[in-house]
Symmetry: C2
Subunit: 323 residues, 2 copies
């Protein structure tokens, strides 16, 4: 415990090895992590850029280019790669790391992969805690990149100040992006591999789709990460959104709303961890009896339980750890 707080002091001063150890502790839900998180002082001014998009859209190459540009301005950058779909190092995350490799010798860049870790792990669920930690270290820019655009990934984007959605013509059209919920979360769209057939059409479709969304139109930019085209405009658009948030605090989510969201996620996570075994109370046993005879479905039972204080408390029990 003592150790974690010592490491936190070091991490705050820019010791990335200390930060890496703290992240591991959080991932493993080590003893003392709650005390550690209480001690964290988040720097609300650190800009968090979220980058998401379907697999194969070239997000990693684009992030790699952006890291290079941020570094050229002397900014310290942290990159978190979130892959909830695979705990295998042979998967996408390793590929991402390889693509990022030429930043690994750079002291000003901190790169960390967050995969899922088996059944009970819930590593991606601790992404918010990891970000909480990273925001207490002296980075000017944090980038959170996800591998896909599933539900977990979109939830992760909730943690970002500015969300960049990267699409390619092959991955679908604007209607699909809308269905996928990307319109709701994007502050910026980049159509990558802009030299490919269909790129111009996708840009137009997106521009039409986003008209009137957000505060003013959402920028849609054609880029080619590989050929280094359109990157300056993209960087400017990211900076504009960041500045817009700073100048219009009401456009940004309030720290209180953000904290509430973290609280809600934390609560759901704890609740899920707490409900491990069938409870012994008579009321709950009758509910299980009714399910077993087919009188009610488990879904109906869940709805009933949530509104019954006594049964809910029986089910949750009391967690000795939290006292």
């Amino acid at each position: 415990m003592e150790d974690l707080l010592d490491l936190l002091t070091l991490a705050r001063r820019g010791d990335d090895r200390a930060l890496a150890k703290l992240i591991t502790a959080v991932e493993n839900a080590a003893d003392g992590v709650l005390d550690l998180l209480d001690a964290v002082e988040v720097d609300e001014s650190t800009h968090v850029l979220g980058v998401t998009g379907p697999p194969g859209s070239g997000k990693s190459t684009l992030v790699d280019r952006l890291v290079g540009r941020f570094r050229a301005q002397g900014r310290r950058v942290a990159v978190l790669l979130v892959d909830p779909s695979s705990p295998f190092t042979g998967g996408a995350v390793l590929g991402d790391r390889i693509r990022m490799q030429h930043h690994t010798g750079d002291d000003g860049v901190f790169i960390r992969s967050l995969g899922s870790r088996g059944h009970q792990g819930g590593l991606t669920r601790s992404t918010d805690q990891v970000l909480h930690l990273v925001r207490s270290a002296p980075f000017d820019q944090v980038i959170v990149e996800t591998v896909g655009v599933g539900q977990t990934e979109l939830q992760v984007m909730d943690l970002a100040d500015t969300v960049l959605v990267v699409l390619v013509p092959e991955a679908g059209d604007a209607v699909q992006a809308m269905k996928a919920g990307l319109m709701e979360i994007a502050h910026l769209f980049a159509v990558n591999k802009s030299d490919r057939p269909g790129a111009d059409r996708l840009v137009l479709e997106l521009q039409q789709a986003v008209r009137g969304e957000g505060d003013g139109d959402i920028p849609v930019l054609a880029v080619s990460a590989l050929q280094q085209e359109g990157l300056e405009a993209l960087e400017t658009a990211i900076a504009s959104h960041r500045d817009h948030l700073r100048e219009n605090p009401r456009a940004a989510r309030s720290p209180r709303a953000r904290l509430f969201s973290l609280l809600a996620d934390g609560l759901v996570r704890r609740l899920a961890a707490r409900i491990g075994r069938p409870p012994s109370s008579a009321d709950l046993q009758s509910l299980l009896d009714a399910m077993e005879t087919g009188a009610i479905s488990p879904y109906r039972a869940a709805a009933m339980l949530l509104d019954d204080d006594r049964m809910l408390r029986d089910l949750l029990g009391v967690d000795e750890d939290s006292i």
Copy 2:
């Protein structure tokens, strides 16, 4: 509402179009779904085979082959393809559908993709409800296939009677499979693309790793879905596990334990949906104040809240729908 129950009657008689409509209703959390689920009578004797493994392990081709073999025995088969990582039809799921295409003209095969659907959708979370429905229709064999092996995918495997884990040498070694939590859930391993270098070694590694796990050793089989090798042995191993469960009901999870697990998942899902906005009660506001000053972290606050009946009730409110 009336409609859903009519459709259920049709689906029970083997009308797959009716079943498809019901699944859509469940996915969209349509009105009357709770009543529908109450009316479902699950056939506990339907065998549910779960197939999981990292991307690129050839799961879909293998499932396609298994479907062909089950059909040759005249069994009606339902296949659910779960892809939590992408709502894009251009992604893996479309690929899977294409690979399965030569079964689509077959009345005895029902194929359905379950992707995630944007931010609020939670489609993969309704996989258990969809399976509940499918198990009430006259299928002899249900196959649930996932795209990756992340946390969501492993949770989905909880719903299966027999879990087949498909690996390929390129995707990693036995140690990684262990780390990924695959040892805990597998009843059978298939090493696919058995003609590739490293396949024999992976088979040996897995055999050593599983020794003493489960009831007797977990079978590890070398197969080649593409070249149709080892498929008969795989089919036999699947049938053996199914028969083992039927003859040893205590080896299988009890219906009561399964129902409790569905109840717990349903409760967590409902709870997550219910906590939408910061509550107005004074206690909760002070908790948010303490978070905002940095006195406690949101994670500590979540731990406190879960053990405080009054605050928890304030936060959950009362759901009018469930009365």
